[in-house]
Every structure is written in C-alpha cells, then in structure tokens.
Symmetry: C2
Amino acid sequence: MSDAINLINEMGAKARQAASAMAKASTAQKNAALQHIADALIAGQAQLVEANQRDMQAARDKGLDAAMLDRLELTPARIEAMANGLRQIATLPDPVGALSETARQPSGLLIGKMRVPLGVIGIIYESRPNVTADAGALCLKSGNCAILRGGSESFHSSSAIVAMIRTGVAQAGLPEDAVQSVSTPDRAAVGALIAAEQWVDVIIPRGGKNLIQRISAEARVPVIKHLDGLCHVYIDAHADLSMAADVAFNAKTYRYGICGAMETLLVNREIRAQVLPDLIRRYRDHGVEVRGDEAVCALDSQVLPATSEDWATEYLAPVLSIKVVEDIQAAIAHINHYGSGHTDSIVTDSLAASEQFIREVDSSSVMVNAPTNFADGFEYGLGAEIGISTNRLHVRGPVGLEGLTTQKFVVRGDGQLRGVQ
Amino acid sequence: MSDAINLINEMGAKARQAASAMAKASTAQKNAALQHIADALIAGQAQLVEANQRDMQAARDKGLDAAMLDRLELTPARIEAMANGLRQIATLPDPVGALSETARQPSGLLIGKMRVPLGVIGIIYESRPNVTADAGALCLKSGNCAILRGGSESFHSSSAIVAMIRTGVAQAGLPEDAVQSVSTPDRAAVGALIAAEQWVDVIIPRGGKNLIQRISAEARVPVIKHLDGLCHVYIDAHADLSMAADVAFNAKTYRYGICGAMETLLVNREIRAQVLPDLIRRYRDHGVEVRGDEAVCALDSQVLPATSEDWATEYLAPVLSIKVVEDIQAAIAHINHYGSGHTDSIVTDSLAASEQFIREVDSSSVMVNAPTNFADGFEYGLGAEIGISTNRLHVRGPVGLEGLTTQKFVVRGDGQLRGVQ
C-alpha cells in the first residue's frame, strides 16, 4: 500500500471515530467550539499573518500571478472577517435532530424522519486559506467531521488555521480529530482521499472547473460538485420593459466572475427594437462587449456577430451574447439546450409565461423578474453556503448546512408485530 | 465505439428528449397511462403467458433452480397482481410540482423549492418480469423516463410487458420512449448504461447483493443501492419483557429472507435469565437455529457457540445469533460496529434509553418497541417502494416516489436588483 493510502486510512479511521462523538454533540458544544476558534483566530492574528507571509514569499518565488497572490493573502482585516464568519455560523439554527413528517401509520407505528450528519466530509480546495476556516466551521456546525486538503501554496496558513480549529474543538469537549488536514504535499493523497469509500461519505471540491472535473472523474466517493454557471435572462413579450432592462443589466454587471452572472440574454422578437438599442448602449458604456445573432446585429452596428460557440460559453467576464427568439418556447428550448442547469430567469408580466418558464426550464434555480446573480445561499436564506451544487441528486442549487446532513427514519411503536393482527 | 455504447447513446438521447415531455406531463395523463397499461396487461394476459412460457422453457433447458423458475413465472394471478399494482400507483399523490419552504427573503424575493423529476433512471434487475411493470410505473408516475435492463432469462416476458407499457404511454399522449428496454443480451450494454453520465441521472439496481456490488463498483452514474440488511433488536434492562420476547420473535420469524429480518439479538445482562431461556426454546420450536456468546450458551446447552463471523453475517435464513451485552452503550457500539446501517430496534420502557438509541444508532431506520421487519415503504406510508437505500446521500431507507425526484429553487421577484439598495 502506498504512503498516501496509509495516511488516508489512518486519518479516515480517526475521522470515523470522531464522527460518532460529533453526531451526538450538543448544539451548545458546537457553538462553543466555533466561538473558541473565532477567539483563537483573533488572538493568533500575528502568528497567522506570519505563517501566511511564508506562503506568500514562496508563491512570489514561484511566480504566481497577482490574482492568486490576492486569494492567498491573509491580512488582519481578512482574519477578522473569518472570525466573524465563524460567529455567524454559530448563530445559525442547528439542522441536526430536527424531526419532520412524523405521522401515525395504519399499523399504529409513529414514523418520522430525523436530520443527522452525513458523517465524514472531504473538502478539496485551492489556495484560499479562508476556506479552511469556513468549510471546517460548516462541517462542525452540521455535526460532521472534515478532512481538509487545501492547495499546497497555502500550506503554512492552512496548517496554522487547522491547529487553531482543533484546539477550539477540544476546548468545547469535542474530539479534535473532527477536523484534520492532509499534511503531505503528495498529490497521491488526493487520489486516496476521493477513493476512500470506507471512510469518507462525500467529497466537496471547491475551486476552478478543472479541479472539480478532475475530482469528479476520478472519485469513488460521491461528489457534491459545482460545474458551469451558464445563466440566461429571457425578456418576454409581455414584460415591464424598464424593469427588464434593469434586471438584464444588473444580471450581467453586478459581478462578472460569479457563477450566477448572466452570460446570454434572450429577447422576444416582438419587443427587441424597444429594448435592445438602449440596453446595448448601456452595456457598451459600462465596458461590456456585446455579441449577437443577426437580428441583434441589425439593431446595432457595433455588435459583433455571435458564433455558435458563444451560446455555449460561460464568459465570467464583461462579454455578453444576445439572441432574439421567436417566443417563450424557443427561449426555453435554447436554455435547456445550451444552459448548464444552474440559474435562469424570465422577465414577464404574464402569469402563464412565468408558470411555463418555472415548470419547463430544467435548472437548479428558476427565477421570475429577478437577476440570476441572486443565486446564493445567503440570499436564499440558508444562512451559509458551502457551494452551489449542479448535481441533481441529494442537493441542487445553493448548499447550506442542511445539505451537509441526511435523514434517518425514526419508528416508535408499542409492541406492534408484523403480519399479526 | 462499441455496439453497446452506440445502442445506449441512441437510447439515452431518446430518453433525454422524452424526459422534457414527461417532466411537464399532467398528473391526469400519467395516471391515464398507468390505467391503459393495466388494461393492456389484463387484455393481453394470454399473450403474456405465452411469451413467459418461452422464457420458462429456455430456463428449464438451462437447468435453473426451482426458486429462479418461480420468480420468472407469470401466471394469470400474477398478471392481475401487476395490473392492480399499476392502478394502485395511479392513486398515489403526484410528487411533481409540490412547492415547499416558500418564504420571503430580506431582498423581497419569494423563494421556495419545487419537486421535479430526476430525469432518466436506469433500472437493472434480475429475471423477475413483474419488476418491469412495477419499476416502469414508478418512474412514469414520478415524471421520469426509464431505461430498463432485465435479466436475460426474462427476455420474452419483459419485452412483451414493455411493449404494453409503451402503447399505454402513447395512448395517454405521452412519448413512448419514456420507457425503453435494452434489448441486446450483450452484457457490455450494462457497462455502457452505468457509464452514460450524459444520458442517465441515476441507476437503481434491483436484485441480489452480487449484482448490486458489481454495478456500484463500476458505475459512473450515481447509484441508489441496497446492500446488506444486518438488523439488530436490543432488549434493554427496562423493558416489558413479554413485549420484548414477542418483538424479538416476530423480528426473526415473520420472514427470514427479507432485508428487515433481525439477524442478531442483543440482550441486556440484567434480564438475560428472565428473557432468554423461554425465547430460545420458542425459536427452536419454530425451527430457528440459535447461536450465542458464552453467556447465552450458559443459559441453554443446545445453543451453538457464535463465532466472530456470526456478528457480521446477514443469514437471511432461520439462523439467529444472540449476544448478552453489559448495557445500552455496549449494544449501540455493537450495532454501529457490526451492523449494516439498515434497521435496528430497541425494546425498552425507558424514555432516556429510547432517545439515546434513536440518537446514537447510525442506521437508516431506528425503531423503538417494534420489530425491524417493519422497514418497508408501504408500512412507512410511502405508498410504494422502488427499494430500500443504504446510501447516505439523496435517499436513505425505503424509497418511494419522492426519492425519484429532486427539487429546484423557484425565485419570484418584482424587479429586485443585486447590490442595489
């Protein structure tokens, strides 16, 4: 057996053991752990910055680009934000133990479902030290154990944070092995982690599409994954055109790099001339490059012709493709064909059109009269977000604490026997 | 590309296309389809029996054993039972379209979740023709498309049933490709089906453990699987001992071959002498072989000594292992160590003991004062059962129609913009 497999087996066995203690941990203990960790982050600020500077220096030496250095850096303000994030998670309702759907069955048995932790969660992420605290805290609050594997560039920062987490967990009387981090830079450890069906219940990769695709392709453990966010807004013929323009503008320009950003705007043929000329100018004034089909190009000479590749591209950049469609049917067909099933929105005043769109668009979020960038765990009232799932099974869309739990049936009787009247 | 992959790609594309029609099918249409199929099964009884006789003859020629021949056989009574099963599924509430958890968020957006079909479900099963009708009907009612792959021994029977299903579906105005069956005996088709991530959303294998393990090990598509049912009953020190004996007897003897049958009985040391001697005699009189640890053997000289292998064995037979445990803690530890996480029960009068057992036993069903054999979709009020899931993700325990659906977020606004006050 390779070293990596040995290491993961050892960590997995510890996590499995810690998982039973975590599953019965009280809400008060879990919240106390989160507060202890937050305190430790603040008290250990100087130490964290120092550890981070070692990572930063190594990253500069390796020639990492400015965006990566920025994601890697820990400043006092960022450490404070991490601590506040933990305290915020402590205030959220504990999903564990909630009973639902309890009903008396004909046999006389009282049967319901209880929320319980998933067990052991493997988190694989790139070099963002804040994910260490954030993901670790969400796993703790939901009663799970975490095995964290951060990018090697954040090794010193993440290790320092994990040490503080483990101390905080122990201070609350919980097993410190509830949070472990894979300490070897050996990439084989990732391979062993995602194959460890015996020890790990689910893998959540957080990072770029390449990372997530690689993990998904190789994993034996189920993966909660977030692939593309190729989101659409469709402006219906029966829409408040001023609202439609604002929603379409906001959906593209609020932030270009988020998965909920609109990438393609679909406009009903009937109202194209009323909406598009002004809206295209507004995008252009804001620095957004507009590409369009023939009908769009006919309305504005500066629009570049879109190729078929544009309809399938998640730009994550100030670029937008616009298409004129015959009717709502064509809009839905376009979305279900080219979209990624993430988030799609219709702007309409028609009840029938909104209901048809909601029913027929096969995406994890369907919206009416709102920009797609609202796809977010906090905006959805989940209180937290460990990611947005593009899976169909288990969780779909923004994932909060509940997505890190499962249910078990609880059956209460008073001596019922099967097959006996 | 192999023929098998070509075939599955072709079937998958057809299923995907049919899936969008099925997702928007009305409840009335789906119920009409089920009634049409039930009518066709009754009207075509003679034809079905004839097709089945061809399978039966081939199976006899191949020397299949009596149990397999019995599972394969279709009689008029069994065909009637299939038809009644379909009519029963037609009476169940339609899970699709149900909205839940709708709430107004601080942004003013009204956000909830809507149940929608999973999409395309691959069902792989052994040579039981009735599964063709049953699984097909559950997929239809939940708005999904099914790709069925039955055992080759039931080829003629299943093909005849699938033809009737497709006709019934078309009569209801739905796409007949909502239900397809893999017609080649080539085993490579199963491999292609379970790898077809593009076309198939979930695989449900139904059959023996070997089949399910093989499918799970090789699948790229998520699998809803049912592995072992190594179920326990624990008789607590504070229990109504007469009820305890009845529950323990029923848990073993109601049916030996079902996954909810008790395989190991745990008895608290304090009450062992009051419970076990009579109970062991009762098992013996009923033809159940009892194996026990030292403490049990000391109470009855005919009990065979249990080996450590016994605690890990799902007998599915009139054999039972009994262990005396120090306390509830030891019982829970034994269950979480040796059990399969299927169904476990405590018999107790103590509220504290029942709550501890419910909380700490990590199984898909935990029971109090009821035999484990109640683990069943019908007994749980699900109205139907496509199987019992031993997965932790998506569905756990008995799976009804709801387990064949997923949810999407529905977001309704009136022009809210993100990041704009």
